[in-house]
């Protein structure tokens, strides 16, 4: 990933810090939250002795005991359903779903109870629980190991949907999610677990809270809007566009960080400056977050727009086998192709480049 992310963080003063991975930052966030608040309890499959299949809970069962970091029976609805009861009794459960497609058995609990318990009890029974879900592709995972299900979660009122793209955000946003009195679906980009950045676990840098987007890279020509695993792609595309030089694109990159609540102000302010926008995500385009974001940009920035808001998303297909996933995932070239279609010459160009006038 992400020379650009490194640069961005380095400019924030992390230059002398040792590199840490996103996985390590998440582990530290869990440990610090557990040490600070005895109400924080971890539930999941293989999170105890093994430390989780991605090792995010490594060492926590040993340190905090098997009641605080509990290996549960293999049943996701049971995990989330019992977490609801624990939250009703004042605990602050943090649930790990092993892979995103394996979170689907818990979908009913999430939609029918987690998301609406506060509302149906008029605030009497809030749900201060966090559901950690490793999501997205790019790690060569076989079927059902690479889904991006954020559209379902973002379409469910009552849930916050959050996803980090940097090591510092992995720590800061997870701490914020656990501290939140609302249920947070915390989507962890699998392929960034091993991404590194200068980061000091003893003095984690403060980051903006849930609901705030961040401009990762300022630019004037167009805005790339991404989140989670797509942020490094957008940053790389912006670097490539600059280095290309020919078109002279100076691309701004906005990292949403939080799909719900959605930071319209930061996004709209950026697009008003640049006049053009591309939304990038891995989940399928049809019915995906990109459509909602494009609609909101259009509603708020219509008179500033020089071109329709474009989307670069996963194809509308079930997640492909690993040997084909590179064709499915939005990459730098596809992002730059979309930027090239932002009506710089005031004519519509179809995807693939040969459309011309339609």
């Amino acid at each position: 990933m992400s020379t650009a992310v490194r640069q961005q963080s380095a400019s924030g003063g992390a230059a002398e810090r040792k590199p840490a991975t996103m996985g390590q930052a998440l582990n530290r966030a869990l440990a610090d939250a557990m040490a600070e608040d005895p109400a924080v309890h971890l539930l999941g499959e293989d999170i105890g002795t093994l430390g989780g299949v991605f090792r995010v809970t490594d060492g926590l069962a040993e340190r905090f005991g098997p009641d605080r970091c509990a290996d549960t029976p293999l049943a996701e609805a049971g995990i989330l359903g019992t977490a609801v009861g624990m939250a009703m009794y004042g605990l602050r459960p943090v649930v790990e779903m092993q892979f995103d497609a394996f979170a689907l058995p818990a979908f009913e609990q999430l939609v029918s109870h987690v998301s609406r318990m506060r509302n149906r009890t008029r605030g009497g029974l809030p749900m201060p629980l966090t559901v950690r879900i490793p999501y997205g592709g790019g790690i060569g995972g076989v079927e059902h190991h690479s889904d991006s299900s954020e559209a379902y979660y973002a379409a469910t009122p009552g849930l916050h949907v959050v996803t980090p793209a940097t090591v510092a955000d992995a720590y800061g946003l997870l701490r914020a999610a656990i501290a939140s009195d609302d249920p947070v679906v915390f989507l962890e980009p699998k392929r960034l677990y091993w991404s590194k950045d200068g980061w000091d676990p003893e003095a984690p840098e403060p980051v903006p809270g849930i609901g705030a987007a961040v401009v990762r890279r300022p630019g004037r020509s167009a805005t790339l809007i991404g989140y989670g695993p797509s942020v490094p792609v957008c940053l790389e595309a912006a670097e490539a566009a600059r280095e290309d030089g020919a078109e002279g694109w100076d691309l701004e990159v906005v990292d949403l960080r939080s799909l719900v609540p959605f930071d319209e102000e930061t996004v709209a302010a950026s697009v008003r400056r640049t006049g053009r926008a591309v939304v990038v995500h891995e989940s399928p385009g049809f019915g995906g977050p990109g459509g909602e974001i494009a609609a909101r940009i259009t509603e708020r920035c219509f008179h500033h727009l020089e071109a329709p808001v474009l989307r670069v998303a996963g194809f509308d297909i079930p997640y492909p086998p690993p040997m084909l996933e590179r064709h499915h995932l939005p990459g730098v070239d596809r992002v730059l192709d979309a930027v090239a279609r932002l009506q710089w010459e005031s004519t519509w160009v179809a995807p693939g480049g040969d459309g011309g006038g339609r």
Partner: protein, 390 residues
Amino acid sequence: MTVLEQLGAHVPVPPPSWRPRTDPAPLLPDATPHRALGVRDAEAGSAGRAGSGDEELLLRLYAAVVHGRRYNEQATALTKQGRLAVYPSSTGQEACQVASGLVLRERDWLFPSYRDTLAAVARGLDPVEVLSLLRGDSHNGYDAREQRVAPLCTPLATQLPHAVGLAHAARLKGDDLAVLALVGDGGTSEGDFHEALNFAAVWQAPVVVLVQNNGFAISVPLSKQTAAPSLAHKAVGYGMPGRLVDGNDALAVHEVLDEALERARSGGGPTLVEAVTYRVEAHTNADDATRYRTADEVETWRAHDPLALLERELRERGLLDEETARRVREEAEQKAAQLRERMHQDVAPDPQELFAHVYSERTPQLREQEAQLRAELAAEGHRTAGEEQR
């Protein structure tokens, strides 16, 4: 020597792990449902019949069942008067409902489903608050945490894992309490029933799951729901005891629940109880039960009526005179009249509250939508005022 021979695979004994981890025999339910009313001492079984010390309990159960039957009638009438959107009656199941409400201690929790409003009322909750969901003015009309009664749950069996989680949390905190969760025969087919019971047993959570087997899941009879010997037998697969009880015998239900809850409180783990009962009324006021069962079948069950069983026992023991019976009926009429009167008062839920509790703080998008609704309401108010002036 091959590897298999080294491991002793030729010796015809199974590996040590093949044996059952738990002896299933003590977990098995009795062959017939436990009964306490109208049973001679010798027949009453291990739990024993009520001794003289239970006279007060018998009278409490009796009064609560009389009140409960009248409550069900009143609630059904309220649907016809347009005051309840829908009402799933528990007529015929009052023994289970009332015993569930009365058996709990103050610190215990109750997890009801939508047919269990009477259990909540028997626990002492305000019936108007309990019926708020079915009236349609809110999703939950009482303070669940204060009352220790979870919101009435509509998606079947999904409240069971909540009950298990809450019981588990209480046990982790070292709090002395037990949790009673209610579900129906249809609900036992749901995945959440399975997952909840499995978690409960693995965690030894202080929870009791009471299955009110009333014979039907709307129209589908138990025979199409399960091939298990009984629903209580399902407990054995999870490694917890299963108890079978006559669900129309309020004293027997109370005894079985009391024993199971006490076992849970003292660290003995969960219990699954199947109460065999019958839904005398249709599924709800919107259902037509004649399409799937005969009047004869209903009549058979009326002969085993929860109220009649209690009344007979009390009279045989000389505990119920005409004066007491009249007084209990009058109390039931008074409660019903109060309920009718209060439910006939119009309520006007505040539309602005739609946005108040979605999150701890409104998102920017919700603030915008709230402002939109406020403007619409203001315009509506102006129009209404204008029409009134004209």
